[in-house]
């Protein structure tokens, strides 16, 4: 049960054994992942989009929370590494079948899983799994967090960093605005962790107060409640998805007012730098957080993000699967 005192994703030599969070991940490790994604992106442009690195390895997509998009990109990435892929949709509640997360993991590792790609609606579930594997002598089994509650979505953060680096080169003189429901966003938390680690001087979150997490400044961001001030002079504008449930619970009155105040329209985009890029983790709610003219416009790099996502996930899986675990 102990073993959650130190970050279980790094081994004793600082090598990446699991990818659970971008928090505390050294800049050198992040940079290595981004650098490794470059040749993997090139693989995607060939006829035969496969390399044999993970041949014979089994990647289990363990999605306790549904997501066809993310699951599909992981599946494509794993298959391009020649791995076998098994998809398991446990659905909203593992407890509905009476089986706990750890029971499910124990059953599956008995089926020779090498990598678990885990998405769960509760923050910390992948950490629980990784600690359990480390504690039960199975640290050769690797965990990739595909999104845990509001906590982190590290592969999304990495592909966002890759995208920014691709278009803007150097993080050290960038101004990045993250707009939307930051309170509930694991995408935002991952991106902020990564940007801060790589030395981005100006990281902003833009949202109404009800959607700004308490003391978020402690993570290294400046808070803006007004869109036109928040995106002024930015190099990168990242739009977050707004979920419908936010209207209940008195966080927001309506999507209409939200779009008016916080939606990214051409008029607001003009306030950013002339060569600013627009990003979105997808899927987009057109007319809620982003105007179609912007989403389909020339500053949008939303589609390249998807392609980069496959390369980044290939890089992550091949780096961690190559970590052999402690030599016994």
């Amino acid at each position: 049960m102990t073993g959650l005192a130190r970050n279980p994703q790094l081994d004793a030599n600082g090598g990446l054994r699991h990818l659970l969070t971008l928090e505390g991940l050294p800049a050198a490790v992040i940079t290595r992942i981004l650098d490794t994604a470059v040749p993997f992106a090139a693989i995607g442009e060939r006829e035969v989009k496969k390399v044999p690195l993970l041949r014979g390895k089994a990647v289990f997509n363990l999605f306790f929370e549904n997501s066809t998009r993310t699951r599909t990109t992981f599946e494509i990435a794993a298959k391009r590494l020649s791995a076998d892929v098994i998809n398991l949709n446990i659905g909203a509640s593992s407890t509905s079948k009476g089986e706990t997360v750890l029971d499910t993991i124990d059953n599956l590792t008995a089926m020779d899983a090498d990598i678990f790609v885990v998405r769960h609606s509760e923050s910390g579930a992948p950490h629980l799994i990784a600690a359990h594997l480390n504690a039960t002598g199975r640290s050769h089994v690797h965990v990739v967090n595909a999104g845990d509650g509001r906590h982190q979505h590290p592969t999304q953060g990495l592909l966002d960093l890759f995208t920014i680096r691709h278009y803007k080169k150097d993080f050290r003189d960038l101004s990045v605005a993250i707009v939307g429901d930051v309170l509930h966003s694991r995408v935002a938390r991952s991106l902020v962790s990564g940007l801060a680690t790589l030395g981005t001087p100006d990281i902003r979150v833009v949202a109404p107060r009800t959607l700004v997490p308490t003391r978020v400044e402690a993570t290294g961001v400046r808070v803006f409640n007004e869109m036109h001030k928040g995106v002024a002079g930015c190099d990168v504008v990242v739009m977050l998805r707004l979920q419908n449930e936010r209207m209940k619970g008195a966080l927001l009155p309506s999507t209409g007012e939200y779009f008016k105040e916080y939606g990214l329209t051409p008029e607001k985009l003009v306030l950013a730098k002339p060569d600013a890029i627009v990003m979105h983790p997808g899927p987009m709610n057109r007319g809620v957080e982003i105007d179609s003219a912007v989403a389909d416009g020339e500053r949008s790099v939303i589609l390249p993000q998807v392609t980069f996502g496959i390369a980044v996930r290939m890089a992550v899986m091949s780096i961690i699967a190559g970590n052999p675990g402690p030599r016994e």
Binding site: G15, V38, P39, V48, V51, L53, S318, G322, P324
Partner: protein, 169 residues
């Protein structure tokens, strides 16, 4: 320069001579990063017959992934021509166990089915662990197992060979 090691530039010239006239005029040279890439560039220039040059990074095709993990500094391979039906001369700086060449051949086939593949190496140091032989060799050497032969390139492009102690993994 380490005593006992041949001069790289001289060996390169000898290799080019052996290839002149023997290599197909439309052959494409594919250098394995990074030493093989340097040699491929120089050979194309020296032969002066307009051979196309491409580069391969074999990090994703190596056979020691299980043991040693993913090598850092993997680069994009760059083959700007169609491999299918092409005559390829694979170029590497040092031929030793033959495993890099095996990886390169596997990778080439994922680009397309070549008509033929030949192998040109600056140095053949023996010690093969796979049935691989070079078509064109600059020089043959006998080297102790605990040494690595390393090619380097100076700022002005001059190539040089050195022997370094092998790093145990």
């Amino acid at each position: 320069m380490t005593p006992g090691l041949p001069d790289a530039e001289g060996t390169l010239a000898a290799l080019a001579e052996r290839m002149r006239g023997g290599v197909a005029p439309d052959a494409a040279f594919v250098g394995i990063y990074s030493g093989g890439a340097w040699v491929a560039d120089r050979l194309a220039t020296m032969l002066g017959a307009g051979h196309r040059v491409g580069y391969l990074d074999v990090s994703f095709y190596r056979d020691d992934y299980e043991r040693a993990g993913l090598k850092p500094n993997a680069r994009r391979s760059a083959l700007d021509f169609d491999v299918a039906g092409a005559t390829i001369v694979l170029v590497d700086d040092v031929l030793y166990t033959g495993r890099s060449v095996r990886a390169a051949i596997n990778e080439l086939f994922d680009y397309g089915r070549p008509a033929a593949i030949e192998l040109a190496v600056l140095i053949d140091r023996g010690g093969r662990e796979l049935p691989v032989e070079a078509t064109y060799v600059g020089a043959r050497l006998s080297v102790a197992r605990d040494l690595d032969i390393v090619l380097s390139r100076a700022a002005d492009g001059t190539l040089a060979l050195a022997a370094e102690p092998r790093v145990a993994r």
